[in-house]
Symmetry: C2
């Protein structure tokens, strides 16, 4: 393996079939080893409503009781994952769909019920890098949903950004790894009102200044801090960019060590 | 690989969690390489009804329009498959869940719309034995749902018995392979009213006699003829037995060449 690209897509790509198809064509064209991690988009909430279940979110996280766990397992690990796999195969990309339980490749534990009981929601413990290597060496492109397991027989609904981060850290032990978060904007903006104000590069030092100046705020803070943690722990670069710009090397915001 | 055991389970095992757990404990205890193929049980029909979809079956096969395809993909490749994988992992069996699209491991084509239009229903073309070998050599236990793909981006609902047969024929190219169909009875009965009348062994010759004498009839005829075809094409034995007897070598009906 010369290098590995790990890419995360969320609802803004998954929820629109045309956008998804265009993204997958670009993804299939990426050279070298690559890994995709996907969220579930709006489909899980829609199915919950059709089944008469109450959709309960706290701080943007889905409270996952047993019935909700069944829905997200069906939608994320089943429908969304297998549709992506079939589309990638048609593009000549030999993809394989994975939950964390498959090959025991990602282990998680159930989040403690205090202070907030999210139900069957998990936090990631780690990735089996040897299993990841076996799959990549077999010529496969792993495609992860965010359904993980606790090793004791219980599936867990995890945050797809956290899964992506963990997979990228595992990949970084095998080869130089670049992580790409596909975003609804063209990168981190210095002016939220101006889509052209993409900040090209953020380093640990420049981030402190951007934060002090109030240029990055709100939901971008945890995103960038997680990205900085990833590069600190061995990921070569983290890019936050628009899915349309996937193949444009210089597009978006690059977060790196220096 | 010294030998491979391929096992099929259907609704009578999947639909009852206690029965499923007991089966999986036995499955995990089988020595050597092994592969599981599962149907979907009643869950798909139940979900269809909850979603207000009409369940339409012709000759025991589900007519699969787009909405039905989404349901069976969610239930078979998502919920049932991932629950089985998580349970097997808890039993120390390093299982990996697969649709035919994953790793392009089983290819199928959509069944012609005439004489009966089943919709997104497929017939199997073949198994990628090299991919199967890669997974087995990585220490993995493949667990297949019956959701396949056409290689052009479309998922297809296939018959789980046919998937099992195709996977066993692929496995037989790698190592001596035994195929086990878990059945609601303890084997093929010579007297349908007597559960103790299991026929221990069926060969091509004895089958002709059993059929001529009217001892096997109805739904058993295609089952046995498919099994005879499998042994003719290289599978070492086909056993039809009860899931409870999985680890009992001599239980059930053994179908073999001589």
């Amino acid at each position: 393996m010369k290098q590995i690209t790990v890419i995360k897509i969320g609802g803004n790509v998954i929820d629109n079939e045309e956008v998804l198809n265009a993204f997958l064509a670009r993804f299939a064209a990426i050279e070298g080893d690559k890994i995709l991690v996907h969220g579930g988009g709006k489909l899980a909430s829609r199915l919950q409503k059709e089944l008469g279940q109450e959709v309960q979110m706290i701080d943007g996280r889905r409270v996952t009781d047993r019935a909700t766990l069944d829905v997200v397992t069906m939608v994320y690990a089943g429908l969304v994952n297998k549709q992506i796999i079939a589309k990638l195969q048609a593009l000549g990309c030999n993809a394989i769909g994975l939950s964390g339980a498959d090959g025991n490749i990602v282990r998680a534990h159930r989040r403690p019920a205090k202070p907030i009981d999210y139900g069957f929601v998990g936090d990631i413990d780690g990735v089996d890098t040897m299993m990841l290597r076996s799959l990549l060496e077999a010529g496969l492109t792993p495609v992860f949903s965010a359904i993980m397991h606790d090793g004791a027989g219980t599936l867990l609904n995890c945050n797809a950004d956290s899964v992506t981060q963990a997979v990228a850290l595992g990949a970084a032990q095998l080869a130089p790894t670049d992580l790409v978060f596909c975003f609804e904007k063209h990168g981190v903006l210095s002016d939220a009102e101006n889509d052209d104000s993409v900040i090209a590069r953020i380093t640990p030092d420049s981030y402190l200044q951007l934060k002090a100046d109030g240029i990055v705020s709100g939901g971008m803070i945890p995103k960038i801090e997680n990205a900085l943690r990833a590069v600190e722990q061995g990921v070569r670069t983290v890019r936050i960019k628009h899915a349309d710009d996937l193949l444009e090397e210089s597009a978006g915001t690059t977060i790196c060590n220096a």
